[in-house]
Structure formats: C-alpha cells, structure tokens
C-alpha cells in the first residue's frame, strides 16, 4: 500500500464507523453501521437481556469499536428471540422491530469448495473419490426459515436465498472449519466491497487506470452519430428454429366456422 492509498484510507473513511469483518454481526434491528456507531452509547443493555449469551461486548480486537455489542456467529449465533431491539435506549437498534423475518443483519455465503454437500455432488459427477465427501445438510436442517432462506437445489446442494436474515445459526453449526472461517460464513449488511460497487464506479476506475486500453470506446458526439446510423428499416434477418414447430395438435380438429 503506498502513501496515497494509506492517506485515502485513513482520511476519507472514518476509522470509527467503517469496520467490517466476516462473521461479525450487530444485534438484530441494527441500523446501518454508520448510524449505529453514532447512536450506540455502549450501555450493554442488549448484552444483558440476551438469553443465549450471543451478544458480546467488543474487546480490543475490534479496535476503536471497543465496548459496542457484537455477535460472533462462529461461537454463538443469534437465535432471533427479538428481546434486544426493544431495550435499546437510543434507537441504535430499531425499537419497533419484533418480527424475526424482517431482521437483516447479514447474508450467509456458502463456500462451494469447502461445503461437504458440494464436494459430494462433485465427486458423484466426476467419479473421483477423495474421501472427504459427506451428505451433511446441517445448514439446511438448523435454519430457522427452512425451505425459505436455504433451499436444496437438486435435493443436495444448499443454496441461500434472499430471505436469509443473517442470524448465523448455520455458521455456528457448520462442521467444516477452514482457514477463512467456516464453509458457510455471514457477510454483515453494509460490508463495503469494491466488487459489489456499481457498474459506473468500476468503469470509471478502469478508464482512469488505463486510458490507452479503452481508446476505442466512443463518447459524446461520435457515439450519437453512430447510434443515429443504426436503422430499424431494411431487411430483417430470418429467424430459424432449431426444432420443428407443430402446426396442429393431435386429437384437435380445426373448426373453420
């Protein structure tokens, strides 16, 4: 990292507010990370009422966020009892949230290389046997929204849908430990990632980085000129089906009346 990037990182981003890591979640009902950090007065009430000991007080490892509540789903996930949102005194957790389905603290992501079910499927397809494979399906079985948040594709491959609330129970119970967490990890809501950034952001970055490479891209007047030359008139290309079309259906007779 050169000096410019380091300066950009320290000065453009508030080090107090933007600190995201995999498998680190705020309690359910948390507002966006920035607003959460502004509102959280570290009173530890949510930690106190949590009956599952899921919410923990951040220690020195969380650097400047020391004292704020965190869920570490690898140790203990959130069981969505919804006791914590209503006790928050400043509204850092949305006081009016009672439905577990509306929680949105993260999204689980399955690593297809480490997941036992995926390995099993792959081995059955290719015929190579490594001995690691197993039909585990633990994440599917423990998910509080069975067949909604995790669905089984081809009856064997667990796939996470948009209904995932990010409680992390699958992460807690997943038997596969990798160097990078587990075979299924939770990515907290609001985690900044350049890959997830919009198309225009990426395009401008690419253009800035290597303008010579993208000389051919037309802009402004030239682009309009080229677009104007495109005509909708003229001959249309014949479209061919690569199968035969049934003109009539057996048993049906066309009524000419």
């Amino acid at each position: 990292m050169n000096l410019k990037e380091r300066l950009q990182k320290t000065l453009s981003e508030n080090p107090f507010k933007g600190f995201f890591k995999k498998n680190r979640l705020r309690p359910p009902g948390a507002r966006g990370e920035k607003q959460f950090m502004e509102l959280c007065i570290r009173c530890a009430r949510c930690i106190e009422v949590c009956p599952y000991d899921s919410i923990k007080r951040a220690d020195l490892f969380e650097k400047l966020q020391i004292g704020t509540p965190y869920i570490f789903p690898e140790d203990r996930a959130c069981y969505l009892c919804m006791k914590c949102p209503e006790v928050c005194p400043t509204g850092a957790l949305d006081n009016k949230l009672f439905e577990p389905e509306k929680v949105n603290i993260g999204k689980a992501v399955i690593s297809q290389e480490d997941c036992l079910n995926f390995i099993y499927f792959k081995e059955e397809e290719t015929g190579k046997i490594t001995g690691k494979a197993m039909i585990c399906s633990t994440c599917y079985n423990v998910c509080p929204f069975t067949d909604e948040a995790i669905v089984m594709e081809k009856y064997i491959l667990p796939v996470i849908t948009e209904k995932c609330v990010g409680c992390g129970i699958c992460v807690e119970k997943c038997p596969v430990k990798t160097t990078d967490g587990k075979a299924v990890n939770v990515v907290p809501t609001g985690m900044g990632n350049e890959k997830d950034a919009g198309y225009y952001y990426r395009r401008s970055k690419i253009l800035k980085s290597d303008p010579q490479k993208y000389k051919d891209i037309l802009k402004g007047d030239k682009l309009i000129e080229k677009k104007q030359n495109i005509s909708t008139f003229g001959e249309k290309k014949q479209f061919k089906y690569d199968f035969e079309i049934n003109t009539s259906i057996e048993g049906w007779e066309m009524n000419e009346d």
């Binding site: 507010k17 950090m37 007065i41 106190e48 220690d59 400043t90």
Partner: protein, 265 residues
Amino acid sequence: MKIKTIRRSVQIAVFLGMFIVPVLNILEIYFIKGTFYSIDIGSIAMADPLAILQAVVASKMFTYSMFASLVIPVLLVLIFGRIWCSFMCPYYLVTEMIDSIKKKLKIKTKKTEYSDHLTVKTNMFRLGFLLFGLFVMGISGIPLLNLISAPGVISSQALVLVKFGYVTFEMAFIITLIVLEFFYYKFWCRYFCPTGSFLSLIGLKRLLKVEKVNENCSMCLSCIKTCPMAINPMKDGSSVACNNCGDCVDICPDNKKTPTLKFKI
C-alpha cells in the same frame, strides 16, 4: 443520623446492585436492566445525560425515548444537585475506599490546599476538558466520551464479568485510574470526569445547597479540611464543584449547638 451513613449505605447498595442486576437478568427477570450509561427500572427509563447528548449530536436525531430517559436524571440534578456523584457513583466509592486504605497504611499524599484561586482554576479546567472532549467526539462522530465514563465502564465490566466470566480491555482504564488515585487525591472526579462536569453544568441553579446559616461560627475550618472537592463549603455551597456529599455538614462542630452549616432549599 449522619448523612455519611445514609450515603455509604446507598453507595454500597448501588455497588452490590451492579452485580445483582446481571444475575437477575441471567435468570430472565428483566425488571431492572441496563448499566450506568442507561438503566430501566420497570418502565422508568433513565440515562446518562452526557451519553444522550453525544448520541444526539453525533446522529442528529432526537427520539422520544431519549427525551423520556432524560427527565428523571435532569430533575434529580436540578433539585438535589450532583448527588449522582456522591451518593451513587461506584467510582466515587472506590476513591473513598482508596482514601481510607491510604489512611490505614499511612501513605501521605499531598491533598491540594484550598484557595480561591484554585477553585476557579479547577472549575475552568473541568469545563475546558469537557468542551475538548466534546470537540474530539464531534470530529470522530461517535459517542467517544462514553469510553472514559468511569461509572459506566465499571458497571458494564461488572455485567460482562458476571455474565461471561471475563473482563474486556476497558478495565485497563479503570485500573490505571485506581493506580493514579494512590498518588493524586481524587484527581479524576475533580479535574476530568466528563459526566460529572456535565451534571454540574445542569445543576448550576440547583435547589438544595450547603449554606452557612449562622454568622457566628467558630471558624475551625474543619469543613474545608474535609471537603473532598477542595472547596470552601461556607462560601462555595452553590458552586459547580460541590457535589452535595454532606461531609462538611457532618463534621461541623458548631452544628451540635446551633445549626450553622446546613443543607438548605
């Protein structure tokens, strides 16, 4: 009955409560929940006014629940002054314990002598530190002063200790303060504590004050010697530094004959 006995029993009850409340919460009795940053007793919400102020400034939001939790603390301070510090704050109890330990071990630390000049200087320094803290907090954009709020840190660490069996790194701050307390007499309460400074600002025009009622006192100056805030109770009873602890009223020898130094509304 001496004010000090009442004060000490309240202090000890609050200190024990700090450990009992988490136990009750573990048993899923949610009657009292919270720490000294903010606490709910039944449905009565109370919160540290400075913490709420910081949250409001940082987030530019003011919710109804924030206002509701301010009412009782602010009313308490407006009527009784800064009794939070002298009657309830666990850190104040710790400093008093350290003081008595020092007396038993006969460690002598120079207690700052009272002078008019010093009182003004102390008050200016406290307010200056509070403003500086708010300034830094404004730049960072999060309620940063809560990290150095001694009672809040102590109570939240007590909660973590009871619930999980360990303490987090914030405890290092309290340990540092306790070590320094052996060398400097009540320096945190008198010079730095942002919560205390803010409460004393709210209680600038409080109802309950220490006042010298009788003009002809014996001028033994024992009240000045005993005052933990190093002010002159005969004169500065309505000062921002006074926390209405009542030590001077207890010790005044003239009070036995005629009321001389008294709490007055």
